[in-house]
């Protein structure tokens, strides 16, 4: 089994390419949804100790709106679309045209939560379908699950599979942001956390050993 400790730079480049293609498609989908340009940062593949994973998002206690997907199929794993709470507010205001939305009101607004889930759904769907096209692997996202809470609390739930084989997580992280980032923020993170056994299948599907 390829554990995170055993990944080579070559392996990481391949994972980065997956992030690139996947998030590229997701950014396009988001641009269409919002009718404006969304930029994507070059994806990074990081090997991080569990407590370092949340530092990448801003710290254990940063409040985030996280949409979680369990991915099943040929290369199972966990996937997160994460927006810091303030970014989620900005995004929802723009999407719905409702300027009354506040950090507080997201917690009680079904409409706001449903909009976040649906956004995650569209983005994860486009991310995974391009991942599938690239590798030939069949991948199916679950329905979206939303949690607005501390980053540490939501992310640790996605580390359960990996934590049985390693103290490290391999993160394929892509940041999305609005092109005019002086004005409105849309700084989201896409995190893909393949299950331990999935790394080998992904590399195998691409003819790499």
């Amino acid at each position: 089994m390829i554990t995170p400790e055993k990944l080579t730079d070559f392996h990481k480049d391949i994972l980065k390419e997956i992030g690139n293609i996947g998030a590229g498609n997701a950014a396009t989908a988001l641009s269409q949804l919002m009718n404006r340009t969304i930029d994507m940062k070059v994806p990074s593949v990081k090997m991080a100790l569990f407590h370092e994973v949340t530092e990448l998002i801003g710290g254990d206690e940063t409040v985030v709106a996280a949409t979680f997907f369990r991915v099943t199929g040929d290369a199972p794993g966990n996937m997160f679309f994460i927006l810091p709470l303030q970014e989620a507010v900005t995004y929802l205001r723009e999407l719905t045209g409702d300027s009354e939305i506040e950090e507080e009101s997201i917690f009680s607004s079904e409409l706001a939560q449903s909009a976040l889930q649906e956004t995650g759904n569209i983005l994860a769907g486009s991310y995974l379908s391009s991942f599938s096209d690239f590798t030939g692997l069949k991948l199916y996202p679950s329905v979206p699950f939303l949690s607005i809470d501390m980053a540490g609390a939501v992310l640790s739930q996605g580390l359960v599979e990996l934590s049985q084989v390693s103290d490290y997580a391999i993160l394929i992280d892509t940041e999305l942001r609005g092109a005019d980032n002086t004005q409105l923020g849309m700084d989201g993170h896409f995190l893909l956390l393949p299950d331990p056994d999935s790394f080998e299948r992904i590399f195998h599907a691409l003819g790499v050993t």
Binding site: M1, T3, F50, H51, T54, G59, D60, E61, V63, F68, R70, F107, S142, F145, L146, S147, I148, D149, M150, A151, G152, A153, V154, L155, S156, Q157, L159, V160, E161, S163, Q164, V165, S166, D167, P196
Partner: protein, 166 residues
């Protein structure tokens, strides 16, 4: 005379010990469980941030024993007893965490890990003969906990409900 109070951070899959007046803190508990074991007279405490219920789940050759409930707690208790020469029968426990962050109706065992962690922690404490004197477990909220080894109060902060103490 003011003595500086240190706040000792406990990371995920880790445990730390503290003696009064120092505090122990762990942040962003989701499905993980924060376990405080405390000796009231000596004002000595240990806090563990347990991630998984049982070391039988480990698929690693060598593993971090602080990650699993069934290995972290006996190790922490041994270290407390040896370092501070405590009596085992005077130890008590407070626990918090074990939430289910995503309301999942499917069959994924991984997403039910919060409740399973709580069960495993309680079983392990039972085997160690350490009574749980208070708890704040389950639900679907993340928690940050701070333990004051001076007065034995465990403070719990959540995003939705603010600060409570047990």
């Amino acid at each position: 005379m003011n003595k500086t109070i240190e706040i000792i951070q406990v990371k995920i899959s880790d445990y730390q010990l503290a003696k009064a007046p120092h505090h122990l803190k762990t942040t962003g508990l989701g499905s993980c469980v924060g376990v405080v074991i405390y000796e009231q007279a000596a004002k000595v405490a240990g806090m563990a941030h347990v991630m998984l219920p049982s070391s039988t789940m480990a698929r690693e050759v060598s593993f971090n024993f602080a990650k699993y409930a069934d290995t972290a707690l006996p190790a922490m208790v041994d270290e407390m007893v040896q370092t501070y020469r405590l009596r085992r029968d005077s130890l008590v426990a407070k626990i918090a965490g074990g939430a289910q962050m995503f309301q999942f109706s499917g069959k994924s065992e991984a997403l039910r890990v919060g409740p399973r962690n709580v069960e495993a922690v309680k079983e392990t404490l039972h085997d160690l003969d350490i009574p749980v004197i208070s708890e704040d477990v389950g639900g679907s909220n993340g928690r940050t906990i701070t333990f004051d080894s001076e007065n034995g109060i465990l403070q719990i902060r959540t995003i939705h409900k603010g600060i409570t103490t047990i």
